[in-house]
Amino acid sequence: MIYKAGSGHPGGSLSATEILVALYFEILEENDRFFLSNGHVCPALYAVMAEKGLISKDDLGTYTELGSALQGHPERTKLKDIMNTSGPLGLGLAQAAGYAAIKKDSFVFCMTSDGEHDEGNHWEAVNFAAKYNLGNLIQFVDRNKIQIEGTVEEIMPLGNLKEKYEASDWNVIEIDGHNFSEILSAVEKAKTLKDSPCVILASTIFGKGVSFMEGNPDWHAKAPTDEEYKKAIEEINQNG
């Protein structure tokens, strides 16, 4: 998708893939809802939605094209199966929290990136969710440790995220974000924690599965060349 479009965000898309697959194929039940906050990883979202049959696989080739439902950042009015328009960072958790405060009978999931934890709006939502005891709110943090211009540690260190969330009266579960059984068991546990919201800190690898992208901030927003594309697909296929 990113190769064909000539633009997009491969690093974050690859770090978030397993969580998105788990959400769409195993976790989300009929009344549950999912808010993607770090909308720039939408190539992964669109691919998972196509695999699930929510959008046509043929449409994937239209990503970012004029008139496509698959916008460069996801848009709710153009793609009906998503909950929220996203892309500008730090907004998704608050929208998920607002929804969760009203729909107490459903589980509301949200994915955020670690980079967007720089945003004040995000932490305002952290406080809101704790104050209103949103035990039905479950947040995945794609902790890939990379943001646009470098590592999270260089650009704006987040300190100890686990302790920060705990100090804000959130439940915290730490997992390997590429391990399906860890993702699923974390969600099972989070669902039992009914008095306060839960964050699943998912340690991931930016650009996972493509050796030359892994951990390299240059691949935040860049399309591969013909040669890079070929090599990346070979590596992903090899790793199965």
């Binding site: 848009e75 929220n84 608050a94 607002g98 004040g120 305002e124 809101f128």
Partner: protein, 320 residues
Amino acid sequence: MDKDTKLKSVRDGFGEALVEIGEKNKDVVVLTADLADSTRVKEFAEKFPDRFFQVGVAEQSLVTVAAGMAEAGKIPFTTSYAVFSPGRTFEQIKVTVALNDLPVKIIGAHAGFGASMYGATHESLEDIALMRVIPNMVVVSPCDFEEAKKATVAVAENGKPSYLRLARQDTEVITKKEDRFEVGKVNVLRYGEKPEVAIIGTGPILVEALKAAEELKKVGIDAMVVNCHTIKPIDVEGIVKAARVCGAVVTVEEHQIAGGMGSAIAEVLAKNFPVPIEFVGVKDSFGESAKSWEELWEKFGLKSKNIEEAVRKVITRKRT
């Protein structure tokens, strides 16, 4: 003004109507950023505690949490001072409310010079401009207590992202309960007999426009006064009609001239029926502290005498 004229505020009209709507429509929820009392939602909070959310001094969360609630089927009213929301929350409003086309209501209180004692940081003179450039957004600026009540009910029911601009100060109630109010349609407050100029204003400053029209009458100048309470969608037909009848327009607002109601009217007339226009408003400057908003209306040239001067100017331009 008569000694016994009753002064009431736009924000009180809002607060009263909100409670009435809350009783009728259980989907109405209210969120505030630590300003329940001064934005007049305290009564709603006391009557409907389950539908009231205090988000703290966190305007960004105020708007984005409300967007999530609207996604869940609610009609959220979010209240803060206009300088903070929409002042601080422009992007949240654009992306999570307007681009999602959700019926979140942005209530900008203390708009204009009403918070005069707090100085420039708390005086919102840019909010109309900010909100009227966003697609899907409805922008309403009621002129008095009665109109605020009607405007509150109207935006609650319109199913659209909406901005409601509220003044803090107690001012003369110039509309009546039985007056027609329709979002997107101007109201003529004073027809005149053979008006030479249409004074088109928005918000409580219309009191000054009416005063100016009375003064002008004494010197033989007949003026129509038009209440443009809805800035978006703008009433093209009503504005063109006023311009056609009068042949000259003066716009009046407690807001920057740049980007405000006057600009919206100039856009309409430039395209449809060009006539000479003069603008009364704040001329590209910040506000400042004063004991009362009236001192600032004086200092920034928003009084009836300033409107009269603009009328004379525009009539001269029309005649030459």
